[in-house]
């Protein structure tokens, strides 16, 4: 798995996430899942599988929280 070649990546704010799972359902390449662990609020926060993100931004838009998800894209040199 060549992480470096992925177009994008996401960062999830564990404690802002409410574990609604909408991002998990929405992600086209299905590279998100709900964590088995709980956050301090008691939700299972979303987490990135670590590779395969296309930086499509969909998860950002379906997430009801202002900063639950941050989407990053690889800069073309």
């Amino acid at each position: 798995m060549d992480v470096a070649r992925d177009r994008g990546a996401v960062a999830i704010d564990r404690d802002e996430c409410k574990g609604c799972g909408l991002c998990v359902e929405a992600c086209p390449p299905r590279v998100l899942r709900l964590s088995a662990e709980l956050n301090r609020y008691g939700y299972h926060p979303a987490e990135y599988l670590g590779s395969g993100c296309t930086a499509c931004g969909i998860c950002y838009y379906v997430c009801p929280e202002p900063g639950g998800i941050t989407v990053l894209r690889r800069q073309v040199a």
Binding site: A55, Y61, P64, P66, G67, L72, Q75
Partner: protein, 500 residues
């Protein structure tokens, strides 16, 4: 967060339109109060993005409703107002008209907009107010725990339709876009949804259009967003999204119902709010030339520092009850006091009862309601009986008759009978009975200087013929007080029938 990926740049992240911290929460101050999967969170985010894209943060004024989205002002760093249930479009109208350069957004739920606020939205749309309305339709009252809304789907079970919504009993789902599309004025009406990725993106575009129209000075724009409420619907967030997409849209078809953005003529509202300094002139309170040409410059105020007159004037319609109160307030004002005048509106036109509350005070008035009067002017017997018991001990009653009913005397108040109607009749018009009473009151109490009353007369009496009669009536009232104090229970005063 991206420390391990230096070549990565943020393309979607927390909008700068959100406050960095949401103060209403003690902790987790970056998180909203919405339930997991709630559509309000998504709409708020899309709204923030639209505001950012259009660069209108400093001009935007968000009008938040009553409902789950009541805390809009906690989240978006724009101008914020939170209004009474359903009144968003009315407040938005006022804000936009008084601040034409602002971008005014009325954010509303379906209980707010389509139930209690139906009149406000219909009329704002019909007037073509230059505002943007975001209508979040989740087909339920969310905040209060799931009562039926006018938008609730047929057969849907709610706490108030436990057997399901039955059109024969509860009517049909109210289709707001379709309803408003019958009006001529709206510029943009669109129904979108949060039922899929594509729908969410389309919602973002529609919200931006609604704001953009306002930036361009076009008229009324409304976006209805079919929005999940997983909590009340009893569905998990993904199921609720599916319900929006597959079920709600069957009752509420998506689409554009009006788009005149291209043809509508941009308008720029003239500021209709006058300069404060102009108000006296506009209201006709500017220096008036009195009937005798007296100068109207306000005399140096020398209010009695302890003055606190709480006056009730009561009688039947046609006796000039309200006008008497107005004279008092006007005279009090010109004597340098704080005053209030609170008329009660009953069916006065048809000889119903009528009363008004007047306060004349040396200090600012907390409430215009007089619940414990120290002065009562009772122009008929029912009014005397109605208000007598509420009087403060030691208070003064002026009663329009030649004697006081036996069972009313003996209270801890001074009741002075002044047969004002009879006196006025003798002067030529029963209509000046109120002025007789006014003269009597001022004579009995000395509560206001003569000059103040003169100025009130100049202001309120416009016809010279009435002016003379009013002066005569005032004088007769003053004289009547002296007759009464000279001979309190003089039966000879009973010559005239008390009431006209």
């Amino acid at each position: 967060m991206a420390s391990d990926a230096p070549a990565m740049a943020v393309i979607h992240g927390r909008s700068p339109i959100f406050y960095r911290r949401f103060d209403r929460k003690d902790d987790d101050q970056h998180q909203t109060h919405y339930c997991p999967g709630c559509g309000h969170g998504i709409v708020t985010k899309l709204l923030a993005e639209a505001i950012d894209t259009l660069g209108i943060q400093d001009r935007t004024i968000l009008v938040s409703p009553v409902g789950c989205s009541v805390f809009g002002y906690e989240y978006l760093d724009v101008g914020n107002i939170q209004v009474a249930h359903g009144r968003g479009p009315a407040v938005a109208t006022a804000v936009k008209r008084s601040r034409p350069d602002s971008i005014v957004v009325s954010y509303q739920g379906d209980g707010d907009l389509a139930a209690i606020g139906t009149a406000e939205i219909v009329h704002a749309a019909n007037r073509g107010e230059i505002v943007s309305v975001i209508f979040v339709n989740n087909a339920i009252y969310g905040m209060t725990g799931g009562q039926m809304a006018p938008t609730t789907l047929l057969r849907e079970k709610t706490t108030t339709t436990p057997l399901g919504r039955d059109p024969a009993v509860h009517g049909y789902p109210l289709k707001v876009c379709e309803l408003l599309a019958t009006l001529d004025a709206p510029v943009f009406l669109e129904r979108v949804a949060l039922g899929s990725n594509k729908q969410i993106m389309a919602t973002g575009r529609a919200l931006r259009r609604a704001l953009e129209n306002q930036v361009h000075g076009l008229g009324f724009s409304l976006v209805e967003v079919l929005s999940p409420c997983p909590t009340i619907w009893g569905l998990d967030p993904a199921e609720a999204q599916t319900f929006v997409r597959e079920t709600m849209t069957r009752t509420f078809p998506l689409g554009n119902f009006r788009d005149r953005s291209a043809s509508a003529v941009p308008r720029r509202l003239a500021v209709t709010v006058p300069d404060l300094g102009e108000l006296p002139r506009i209201l006709g309170l500017g220096p008036a030339s009195g009937a005798d040409g007296a100068s109207d410059t306000v005399v140096p105020a020398s209010p009695v520092p302890t003055a606190d007159h709480r006056i009730v004037v009561a009688g039947f319609g046609g006796q000039g009850v309200l006008l008497l109160g107005e004279f008092l307030a006007e005279a009090g004002l010109s004597a340098g006091y704080h005053v209030s005048w609170l008329p009660s509106y009953g069916p006065q036109m048809r000889s119903g009862t009528s009363n008004c509350h007047v306060r004349i005070s040396a200090v600012p008035i907390d409430s215009p309601v007089v619940s414990r009067p120290n002065v009562l002017i009772a122009l008929n017997e029912p009014s005397l009986r109605k208000f007598l018991l509420s009087m403060e001990p030691g208070g003064l009653v002026l009663y329009n008759a030649d004697r006081v009913p036996v069972d009313c005397a003996g209270n801890d108040v001074r009741i002075t009978p002044i047969a004002s109607t009879a006196i006025a009749d003798r002067l030529g018009s029963a209509k000046v009975g109120n002025m007789v009473m006014l003269g009597a009151l001022l004579e009995a109490t000395g509560m206001l200087p003569d000059g103040a009353l003169d100025r009130a007369l100049h202001r309120l009496v416009t016809q010279e013929s009435w002016y003379e009669l009013d002066r005569a009536a005032l004088q007769a009232g003053r004289a009547a007080v002296h007759r009464m104090t000279a001979a309190p229970a003089e039966p000879s005063l009973a010559r005239d029938p008390a009431m006209g």
